[in-house]
Symmetry: C2
Subunit: 414 residues, 2 copies
């Protein structure tokens, strides 16, 4: 599969955007044409999941229906509409040797995607890799194996009908750990692996992989309410960052409050959070303060572990800090370098925070929930990288490309 | 050391270019001030090398003298003069949510450099990392351990005198394999490892490392002489690519000749190569041709292995190919995606070659020897990456940086 993918990737690198887009549209059409067989395969996964006693939320994530399938096909058509970054000249200059140098954006080559349950990832990941001229090898989770095989088969059939190299999109039909190990050792064929899933999966891939891995670890995101904050705005941003979608990586997990405004802000935000059914875990100072102002509101005492916990739920840890610098130190120590926000009217304080917080995305006076490829205007997202190399933060099409240097001479020698 | 480096890197990220440059100049001055002690330490390495029976070339690479030390210090001053890319705004835009997004260039954080014998790498690598605001942990080879310790100590002393965080530049005083293993597992502190050395070292680091590794593998570089080539230019480029400095990674290892011009070009280049003491290894067609035209010139028969061998010496494998496409297929199959050239007067042929050869640097009508950070006008070079992620081809200051997104809102929530 690796050797086939490499060959396909070399062919794919010569395709122009218009040809790639025709293939993408054919993939979308084929998914709709194959609705019956895809839903049949999905039914097998659903009944296996029920037999295995998966919970209702997990089964719901697995389930496909005509509307969801149309959504997947619609997503492919959207990707076809996006600008293709491959082929862009990133820089061009002529050093003193007189050779014209062009830095040109290229596909990466062959990308491996290892993911867990949701079958829509099969299509989403495949088409983003394809749009950028990369061959892809997919390895999904066991729960969705029938759905994944059916979707991949459909993408292949549709693509090949418009001239796609057959091995540009491949799915590994095995879901055992051995198949992950094999992929991780195939560095002669795979230029990159992107694991999409929980920490356990990412850790496994990182420890085995010989090729680059782009990691999408936890989001332990903070909102810091500065002494100079507009407290009404602060409350709106804190509530939005926590409760709008608590299960995602860009949701706030820890709220930091400057001590100078704590007396005023803490009771008010505690009330709002409780109204939104958020369970509160606080530092000693916060807990003491609330026990005086609102003894009815329960605040659990925070342990050291709470500061580095990604709850992904309506649970929030809250800490009162002594200064702006304290908030930065806390975030750099306990955060996951994902997405962190300051609320302040002071431009000077904002600048210090933006510069010194070492995270992929740092926000001033807006919700951490904007840490998202769509919200960034990228039109798509393959994940949010917590790495600092190659791609940091929301990853879309550009982040699935590499570059090469073209040197145009007139017979120069050294 | 890792924890200290991380703390130092956070402090360093707040330094402006002017302050970093003052520190660099202080490092250069200190190296000169410490000449006696550095040369004394170097003498220990030299006598150990002599006792251990290292060959003359290796001992020469190890040796420092006042001129070489002044060269190292001069190199630091040159780096101080280079433009600091950190802090640049790479892009700025405002998507429909109204939040202004800035993509800002930042240091990577903490970089590990694992290298072999030459003591000058201690300084070269440290100052490039420092210039870009990164803390560095160096781990050199056993042959140069005394020199490396003395140079690192001198850089530290000089740097600290101008306010450098003490742990911004650290050298591991051990040279056993265990120390490489430790570094490779320190992914909580090290953002990147760059191994500079032979394939064995790189392989070891790749198999152990949990963090990203930027690899500088072999250069199996090709020059392809097209049917439309100016044969005089072709000869000059081929000779230059092979003989100007055969021991380096951007030297040609395989010459490909289009069959249509082989009768004319092959005997002539065979003669020139022989005059330059290059030993010839040829495909059957080349061997047969030369045996007819110049029976005195010895051509060894090429084995399959020759096509993927980096000789790093006055040895060259030569193959006659049937077509432009054949040359591309050969290069993509046997090359190392490093630096490959076409000589042709046909723009159409050049374009196909430049697009389809999947290498970091692809040359048209110039020598592969230009694959070099200095020749690219970068002013420095930490190596030539054979990876496709993060950095490809010659790496200098920009390639030692990452970025972060700053989002400037007015209270936006989702």
């Amino acid at each position: 599969m690796g050797a086939h993918a490499l060959t396909a990737s070399r062919e794919l690198a010569t395709f122009d955007s218009e040809h790639k887009n025709r293939i993408l549209l054919a993939m979308a059409d084929q998914l709709i044409a194959d609705e019956d067989s895809i839903l049949e395969s999905n039914a097998k996964d659903i009944s296996a999941a029920e037999e295995n006693g998966l919970n209702a939320a997990m089964i719901d994530r697995l389930r496909l229906d005509p509307v969801r399938l149309a959504g997947i096909a619609g997503g492919i058509r959207q990707v076809a509409d996006l600008h293709d970054p491959v082929g862009e000249i990133l820089e061009e200059w002529t050093p003193s040797n007189g050779i014209k140098i062009r830095k040109k954006r290229t596909p990466i080559g062959v990308i491996g995607i290892i993911y867990e349950s949701r079958p829509n990832v099969t299509s989403d990941a495949a088409v983003l890799c394809f749009k950028t001229g990369n061959a892809v090898i997919l390895r999904g989770g066991s729960e969705a194996i029938h759905s994944n095989c059916a979707i991949a088969q459909s993408l292949q059939t549709g693509g090949v009908s418009e001239g796609m190299p057959e091995h540009a999109v491949q799915l590994i039909p095995f879901t055992d750990r051995e198949s992950v190990k094999h992929m991780a050792e195939m560095d002669q064929y795979l230029d990159l692996i992107i694991p999409r899933g929980g920490t356990g999966l990412i850790e496994t891939v990182v420890s085995l992989a010989r090729m680059p891995v782009i990691k999408h670890y936890d989001g332990i995101c903070h909102v810091y309410i500065d002494s100079e904050a507009d407290l009404e705005m602060a409350e709106a941003i804190a509530i939005n960052s926590k409760v709008q979608k608590p299960s995602v990586c860009n949701a706030m997990e820890t709220l930091l409050i400057h001590q100078d405004i704590a007396d005023k802000f803490a009771p008010s935000i505690a009330n709002s959070l409780r109204e939104n059914n958020v369970q509160l875990i606080g530092c000693e100072a916060f807990k003491n303060l609330i026990s005086k102002t609102d003894p009815d509101i329960e605040v659990k005492a925070a342990t050291e572990e709470d500061w580095s916990t990604e709850y992904l739920d309506l649970i929030l840890s809250i800490k009162i800090v002594e200064s702006l610098e304290d908030s930065i130190t806390h975030i750099n120590e306990y955060g996951s370098q994902h997405s962190d926000a300051i609320v302040t009217n002071s431009e000077a304080n904002a600048e210090i925070f933006l510069n010194e917080v070492d995270s992929a995305a740092v926000f001033w006076n807006c919700s951490t929930r904007f840490s998202d490829g769509e919200e960034f205007g990228f039109g798509a997202e393959i994940g949010i990288s917590t790495d600092k190399l190659h791609a940091r933060g929301p990853m879309a099409l550009k982040e699935l490309t590499s570059y090469k240097y073209l040197l145009l001479g007139k017979g120069q020698i050294r």
